[in-house]
Symmetry: C2
Subunit: 202 residues, 2 copies
Amino acid sequence: MARAKFLNSTDAVNTIINEAIPRFAKAGFSGVSMRDIAKAVDISTATLYHHFPDKQTLYLRSMAQAFADKAEGISTVLAEKGTPQQRLTKFIARFTKLMSQDSHFRILLQRELLDGDETRLRLLAEQVFQSQFANVAELAKELAPNCDAHLMAISIAGLVLFHLETTPLRQFLPGGHAEHNDPDVIAQHVTMLLLKGIKGCG
Amino acid sequence: MARAKFLNSTDAVNTIINEAIPRFAKAGFSGVSMRDIAKAVDISTATLYHHFPDKQTLYLRSMAQAFADKAEGISTVLAEKGTPQQRLTKFIARFTKLMSQDSHFRILLQRELLDGDETRLRLLAEQVFQSQFANVAELAKELAPNCDAHLMAISIAGLVLFHLETTPLRQFLPGGHAEHNDPDVIAQHVTMLLLKGIKGCG
DNA sequence: TTATGTCTAATGAACGTTCTATATATAATA
DNA sequence: TATTATATATAGAACGTTCATTAGACATAA
């Protein structure tokens, strides 16, 4: 092979995807050109096209990789013992930390919610969220046997994610402080709100 | 003027913006071309450029218009009398209905949270959300005097908005039903959760 | 006459993609 | 082992398209 840059094709593909993920997260599908990605990996666009048939495929593979990385990390959080309250508290703490640590995953998720077609959303739901979502829903059932577990699981995730989503905006809203972006602060607030309602928060 | 298509420049500008808003909401800034917009209004791109100096300006004006439309609608919801609980219930019901009725506003908001620069986010915060956000925060203070009103106001908005955001995804998640997209169902769930916590939901 | 609204046509840049060539590794063969 | 053939990884250059934007002309209202 000509002046090999990578160990093999798999290495090349992984390197490309790892460079592509943060770029797609930051700028979206149409905000990143194949030339940009090629330049970032220091290969020609022709070489990039040797490894991926087209941009859409590269995007899908990047998305799948970003999601696969995280799906693994979330999967064992709820398996531990404890009262439902304890397990909820622990889940929220870990989920918040996970989502704020690596923003690529969260931002790609938001982009998919905005622009994803049915195929990509189904993939996302079934291969990334489904099992963990079911666990959270089950936990909700333990805490409130007659509640709508689906609605409740969405609410739990939404509380955490919306605080992270609004990070760039909240500094301009009344009472906004940097500490409101601290995952621990968010997690504690969300946990309290879920377990006790507004009145229980002070 | 040559074969006048509009009553005057203001009419032209408004017509263009009204065509642009849903397009920018659906496809984002880079997903809509000036050609597309010109075609939609049945004018040439040159004419479009006669009314707007560049694409960025057209986008900003469209955004500002979409936001101004809604800011008005939200502004008087909390002025009414009643117990804090009653006012919260009413606010959530109206906010949910408003946000689900016209999705352009909500989607543009989501896009700004993803891609908005500091200038646009500040504009959004100060000219659209600030006063109403303060009202919600104040209401939270009435319900829980020692709580962090900023965090609470974000949580309230987030609960509603996240349910709407996840509309295209929830059908693929366990327990998802069409009725979960009903604004009344969402509002009732959110209100209950806020006032009573998870346990109060069943 | 002058300012305004409109058009056709063009410009230059960026983009996704492909053509063609070449250097290297691997496998088959003598 | 030495030689040849094949497949793979790479790059330079170009193609065709679309894009934002502009130049210049023309028509009409004031």
